[in-house]
């Protein structure tokens, strides 16, 4: 079913892992840097190439580029099955592009023990490509964990303030979330009766005989909270700002930008189409948690932040509120909006983390009250930062706008009150976004910053910093001006699996 001569999906997963192995076996630093750059570029190029080829491919159950490998566990229905559909394709591209940007930024960072750092990032990158290329939900989980473990280690070794505490807290929270999701996925596998973890087979089995309402309800609950913890659903979000605040920039870019989307992607791709009865049961509490908790409570907390990186961390928690709201609407527009928003948010939050670290290198502090006037010294950086902030607020012209718009439209039919409340979230993000830009870049220079500048003159972004930032901002603009490049495929995939005639029919009449 795979029309390509080599399995590019497998190649995109294997290249970073093989490069990581090669670097850890020992090689000179220059060579390691070059190899790492190549290994980050290959998945990105493969992702873009597959994106361009996707429309012309023949699809099997919405999936193209399918290939299946046996790993020895076929007795319990586990195969390494790779493929892309309209929902996973944009995220696969996101993983490739953000991975490339994060990798390039790490290569130029001159971190201590750089080779180990690159090895861990490459492992993470391999896992990320695998998450979105997997059709088998076991491997979907497996690759997520593969990408998650390096994050903990990177926070612990290269992290900033409170890194030991942050690493421990992240590990325990995310393990709990991952274990709940794993149990939910095994429950889905078991109750479906398909004896296979393959998503296509699961869907076919569930189409034939739906799940009982009770089973659907508790599996959805498990997965909602399991994935929810991983995506920082309020009130299980406390690991996120702390962890991102402490994480080294490339790890934060990859985790907040891509890896965190794992849970949302799981909800959109697996949970919603397979467990419609569960959604009906849980939609209201989920929407309420998302709007009141993530959007409003965290929104106000974000406004109160003085630390730039903490602010970006909190803002990413806040924006997950839109995504959960879109999922709770359980509609084609809502789910499509969530995917668009995930892509857009991935690019913009990665760019913001990148820029905050670059700012830190110039001001020697993350405290926004000790900066000011940076725009005169570093106009290019200021332009990037303002653009990233605008994107994150969701102004038209940027990718985020389309995602949030679709979610609001879908949410209006779900609950006008919650929609109205969630639109105030845009105002909140405008307040903290613009205020942070003003504090950091405009206005008079603070005394503290002047002192720092006296010891170390401030320069604009270097070429090496500009390249990853350019990649990310180009992606934001591209999707912003031409959302159809994603949405056509996305729409057809979502309609194919959400449409009532194709979706799992599970009312009492058809349940066993």
């Amino acid at each position: 079913m795979n029309s390509l001569p080599v399995d590019l999906l497998l190649l995109s997963i294997a290249t970073p892992l093989v490069a990581a192995l090669a670097i850890s076996l020992g090689m000179p630093l220059r060579l390691a840097k070059g190899l790492a750059a190549a290994a980050f570029a290959v998945p990105a190029l493969i992702a873009l190439f597959l994106w361009s080829r996707f429309a012309g491919e023949t699809q099997h159950a919405t999936y193209a580029f399918l290939s299946v490998y046996n790993t020895g566990l076929q007795a319990v229905g586990i195969h390494l099955s790779l493929g892309l559909n309209g929902i996973s394709l944009p995220l696969f591209v996101l993983a490739g592009v953000v991975g490339l940007a994060a990798g390039l930024y790490a290569i130029q960072s001159n971190a201590e023990r750089l080779k180990t750092y690159l090895v861990l990032l490459l492992v993470m990158q391999g896992g990320l490509m695998g998450v979105f290329a997997s059709v088998d939900i076991f491997f979907f989980y497996f690759f997520h964990e593969l990408a998650l473990i390096p994050t903990f280690i990177m926070v612990g070794i290269w992290g900033g303030k409170d890194r030991n505490y942050a690493a421990m807290k992240m590990t325990i929270y995310l393990t709990l979330g991952a274990m709940l999701s794993l149990i939910g996925l095994i429950a889905l596998y078991h109750k479906s009766g398909a004896n296979s973890f393959d998503l296509i087979a699961l869907r076919a089995a569930l189409l034939e005989h739906g799940l009982k309402a009770a089973a659907s309800k508790y599996i959805f609950g498990l997965l909602m909270f399991g994935f929810g913890i991983l995506v920082s659903l309020w009130p299980f979000h406390t690991w996120a700002p702390l962890g991102y605040g402490a994480a080294p920039s490339s790890a934060a870019m990859l985790h907040a930008g891509v890896l965190k989307k794992f849970g949302l992607y799981g909800l959109v791709q697996i949970v919603l189409p397979l467990l419609p009865l569960g959604v009906a049961e849980w939609a209201r509490p989920l929407a309420l948690l998302a709007v009141v908790g993530n959007l409003l409570v965290i929104g106000f907390i974000t406004i109160a932040q003085r630390d730039l990186k903490q602010m970006v961390g909190y803002s990413s928690v806040m924006h997950m509120g839109y995504a959960f709201l879109g999922i709770a609407t359980f509609s084609v527009a809502g789910a499509g909006g969530v995917v668009l928003m995930m892509v857009a948010h991935g690019f913009s939050v990665a760019l913001l983390f990148l820029l905050s670290t670059s700012i830190y290198h110039r001001t020697q502090t993350f405290d926004m009250t000790e900066m000011g006037g940076l725009a005169q010294k570093a106009p290019v950086m200021a332009a990037f930062f303002v653009a990233a902030t605008m994107a994150s607020i969701g102004l038209p012209g940027f990718a985020n706008f389309w995602g949030e718009l679709a979610i609001f439209v879908a949410a209006w039919q779900f609950s006008p009150l919650l929609t109205a409340l969630s639109v105030t979230g845009v105002v909140i993000s405008a307040i903290y976004g613009l205020r942070s830009a003003a504090r950091v870049f405009f206005g008079p220079q603070t005394e503290a910053f002047a002192k720092v500048e006296a010891t170390k003159p401030v320069t604009d972004l270097t070429c090496c910093e500009k390249l990853p930032a350019l990649i990310l901002i180009a992606a934001l603009f591209f999707v912003g001006f031409w959302p159809r490049s994603i949405s056509t495929q996305l729409n057809s995939a979502i309609e194919a699996i959400y449409h009532p005639s194709a979706a799992v029919q599970a009312p009492a009449a058809t349940a066993k």
């Binding site: 790993t71 020895g72 007795a75 473990i149 890194r163 690493a167 095994i186």
Partner: protein, 511 residues
């Protein structure tokens, strides 16, 4: 004359070739003693190498199937029943004792102790375990089990100049004697009940598992038999370290020489599970009773093991208590195997074996690192001794991280696949309460496993040494060739089995 016929028939069932690996191992053990007598003292260093190479040779013979196969047959008048499970466990025990011997060479080098007896006893214990995994009769089971236990009494107190080691030996002796007593009492009760001619299905040969199973099936509600079963299970629970028979574990694990602790943690526990699996088949008519007992045990074991490990600073106690929790996860697999219908039970048993094998790889990786980090006082191995291990010994640091990660059940390592397979089996068996407890256990365990990794990897502030003060961390042994090969292959196998289970997975799960 009929007596002679009987004896003849019995002799004909004595297929000595069926226990060729055990015989070879026993001969190897004796050969070591001969070498000690014959060789001049200077050349005694050769003897451990002979032990290791000999075991590898026997193991290769087993893996390449060079020995005559008796699969599915009963030999020695029904004392032994040769199964593919037994074959797997034979290889498992041989592999463990080989690793223990490698670790033994390192640990013994730090002590002024006689060397050769250590290897001799390890080989004998291993041979007894191999017989244990194929037993089909309570007599053989008890004799083999006592051989193992008596061997361990000596091994645990082997560092006889260290008071901790002696204390551990005494504790193991007392609790071990108690558990043997429980087991024996249970066996006697079952023997007596099954031999009662007034009951249906009574048998003259009630030590035999097949006959006992028939009797139990005919009397599914016999009170005395139920007591006997519970007592036998208690004796086995002592071996696997399940609550409430875990009481000996922390002290004995701490005091015993590190290689012996590894042997106890891996092989002795696995031996317990292999007889538990055999016995659960025999006791199948009493499933209503055994499943309840084991479920309660599993829950208590997982929670106790993990909670008690949380506060430990001594790594030997920590790994002992974490091993208690692993016994709990494995018990879930045993329960699933006895609850599931026979076509699915095979998968649950396969899951248990996969878990045990992953546990072997990860445990020996961790114990291997511990042996290198330990100083002259083998009982004194604190978490803080691991600080900056990743910096000074990156190889040991990496092996430790992989081993602990696998024990914690983190993908993509083998330990995760073991947990996954057990969880899938538990789901199929509908053991939801046990699953919830297992999840809680796994999340708690992350804290202490990660804490150990943290101690080795993350930099923490250390007080500068004052003049005349010595570094509290013992000197780390450089990694030799044999240990290096062993640790590297353990780490690689742990990673590879996490990604690709290949024919091992097919063999274990398609039954």
């Amino acid at each position: 004359m009929p007596h002679l016929d009987l004896l003849k028939a019995a002799a004909e069932s004595n297929h000595w070739m069926a226990i060729l690996p055990e015989l070879l191992l026993g001969s190897l053990a004796l050969f070591l003693l001969v070498l000690e007598l014959v060789l001049p003292k200077k050349q005694h260093d050769v003897i451990p190498a002979v032990a290791i190479i000999g075991q590898i040779g026997i193991l290769l013979g087993l893996l390449l199937r060079l020995y005559p196969s008796f699969n599915g047959q009963y030999t020695f008048s029904g004392l032994l029943h040769h199964t593919s499970n037994g074959e797997f466990m034979r290889a498992f025990f041989l592999l463990s004792s080989t690793f223990v011997c490698v670790l033994g060479t390192i640990a013994l080098a730090k002590q002024k102790m006689p060397r050769i007896e250590f290897f001799n006893i390890v080989l004998v214990v291993s041979a007894a375990m191999m017989l244990l995994a194929q037993s089909n009769n309570f007599i053989l089971l008890f004799v083999a089990l006592e051989t193992v236990t008596v061997g361990f009494y000596i091994l645990v107190s082997y560092f006889r100049t260290n008071p901790r080691s002696l204390e551990a030996g005494l504790k193991y002796l007392i609790t071990g004697a108690l558990s043997s007593g429980l087991l024996l009492f249970g066996i006697v009760l079952l023997y007596g009940v099954a031999g009662n001619p007034t009951l249906p299905g009574s048998t003259a040969n009630s030590m035999d598992f097949t006959a006992l199973h028939t009797f139990l099936a005919a009397n599914p509600n016999n009170f005395l038999a139920a007591i006997g079963i519970v007592l036998v299970l208690s004796g086995v629970a002592f071996k696997i370290g399940a609550v409430p028979f875990q009481i000996w574990i922390p002290d004995v694990y701490q005091g015993a020489p590190t290689p012996v602790t590894a042997f106890l943690a891996v092989a002795s526990k696995a031996a317990g599970f292999s007889i538990l699996l055999i016995l659960m088949g025999v006791f199948a008519p009493y499933n209503h009773l055994t499943v309840t007992v084991l479920s309660l045990m599993a829950m208590a074991t997982i929670l106790f093991g993990n909670l008690a490990a949380l506060t430990q600073h001594n790594v030997k106690r920590l790994i002992g208590l974490s091993g208690v929790s692993h016994a709990g996860y494995l018990l879930i697999g045993v329960i699933a195997a006895s609850v599931l219908p026979s076509n699915l039970a095979g998968q649950a048993v396969g899951a248990i074996y996969f878990y045990l094998f992953a546990y072997l790889l990860a445990s020996f990786a961790v114990f291997g690192v511990m042996t290198h980090v330990a100083g002259g006082d083998d009982a004194d191995q604190e978490l803080e001794h691991y600080s900056e291990l990743a910096k000074t010994h990156p190889f040991l640091g990496a092996v430790l991280a992989i081993g602990l990660g696998s024990l914690a059940g983190i993908p993509p390592l083998a330990g995760f696949m073991g947990k996954l397979l057990i969880f899938v089996a538990a789901f199929k068996a509908g053991l939801y309460t046990l699953l919830v407890v297992a999840i809680i256990g796994v999340v708690i365990s992350i804290y202490y496993y990660f804490g150990w990794i943290k101690a080795a990897f993350f930099e923490t502030w250390r007080a500068p040494l004052l003049e005349g003060e010595t570094d509290p961390r013992p000197v780390r042994t450089p990694v030799g060739l044999a240990a290096g090969v062993m640790l590297a292959s353990l780490a690689v196998a742990t990673v590879v089995l996490g990604f690709y289970q290949g024919s091992l997975g097919v063999w274990l799960l398609n039954r």
